[in-house]
Subunit: 184 residues, 2 copies
DNA sequence: CAGCATATCTTTCCACTGACAAGATGTCAG
DNA sequence: CTGACATCTTGTCAGTGGAAAGATATGCTG
């Protein structure tokens, strides 16, 4: 909890973003209510507007934060493509609220400069990891991104058939490896 | 099904579903309004409740319709996995409204029996196509589904980097092939 | 320290939404 | 014709997003 130090609230912006993550985790992005966030933060229902303009503005900030977190997680894989793929899935499962918003462009201002910049920051590590691979092509990068993104999305949607390994990282590792060793 | 014919409206249920597809195509599933659908269909704001109960009920019906459409499209590939993958992407792009709802489980009653049945109908063709492949495993099915679903989702989200083939089917075919011929 | 400009937050208001209840209307069986 | 029923309308309520205008704390300038 942030200290009630400094301004009226302390750091309302941060508090609202954290409340949003929690609320989305409970009921999904569609059911998000600005007034509910304001209640959670202990301020009036109009306070959020000052920081984010409107609901889409708040979700835009959340998307930027998400892309930055994702970029950091992928960077930590340090060129290891399999590790990066697993990190992608780990991020999606561990930061479900961010992830769901990030890839629901109808919810926020996708053409916001901050979003565009953060998005490309997240895309860079995967791209360079592919480029470092012998014979790595644009198509390989697209295939790698598609497979991890698809797996993560299906996992979050609960659309995967039963019988999958209950640990998303284990299941993801197996699926991603399929991209490198098709035979086995 | 329950398509009663020849009442006040004619077939309000159908009209509402089609209006929903159109409205979602314009503004996304989050901005969907039952009252707007009622206006589009020329009925009062409370008429939809009688057919679908509530908003989630309407989206449940839309999801079932979507899974059935998808199952039919995949069946038409007739065991050809590459064709099925392309058909998956074609469905997602061509029936964006259905697709977005289908994989947003927070929006509808995902545990509805009709949904479960339709979902497994859609999953069956891909599964059997994999099984028919020499050495086809559960992991292969998962990888195939992940890659097409991921590509379709990223395409719809507009998250793909520039420079991709503007025709989603062409780009998808190239990516999917990566699963079969990793070398080239 | 004093006074002011500004960022932050509150109060008030409006149009809209989803959901419910009760009544009206068309359709069909007998 | 009549009653039963599904269909649709009207009226209502709490909750929401957003705008406008006022209140208050904070930091800056002198």
């Amino acid at each position: 909890m942030t200290t009630t130090r400094g301004y009226h609230h302390g750091d309302l912006r941060r508090a609202l973003l954290e409340a949003a993550v929690q609320a989305i985790g409970e009921s999904g992005p569609a059911a998000l209510s600005l007034r509910d966030l304001a209640r959670r933060a202990g301020v009036s229902h109009a306070a959020p507007a000052h920081h984010f303009g409107d609901k889409a503005g708040l979700l835009t900030a959340l998307a930027v934060e998400g892309f930055d977190l994702l970029a950091a997680a992928l960077d930590r894989a340090d060129g290891d493509l399999l590790a990066a793929g697993v990190a992608y899935v780990r991020f999606a499962v561990g930061h479900r609220a961010h992830f769901e918003v990030m890839f629901s462009p109808g919810l926020y201002h996708g053409d916001d400069p901050a979003v565009l910049a953060a998005r490309s920051r997240a895309w860079a590590p995967l791209r360079s990891g592919i480029a470092a691979l012998p014979g790595g092509s644009e198509r390989d990068a697209l295939a790698a991104w598609s497979i991890v993104h698809g797996f993560a999305t299906l996992w979050l949607a609960g659309a995967l058939p039963p019988g999958i390994d209950p640990d998303p990282e284990v299941a993801a590792r197996s699926v991603i490896r399929r991209l490198f060793e098709p035979g086995e």
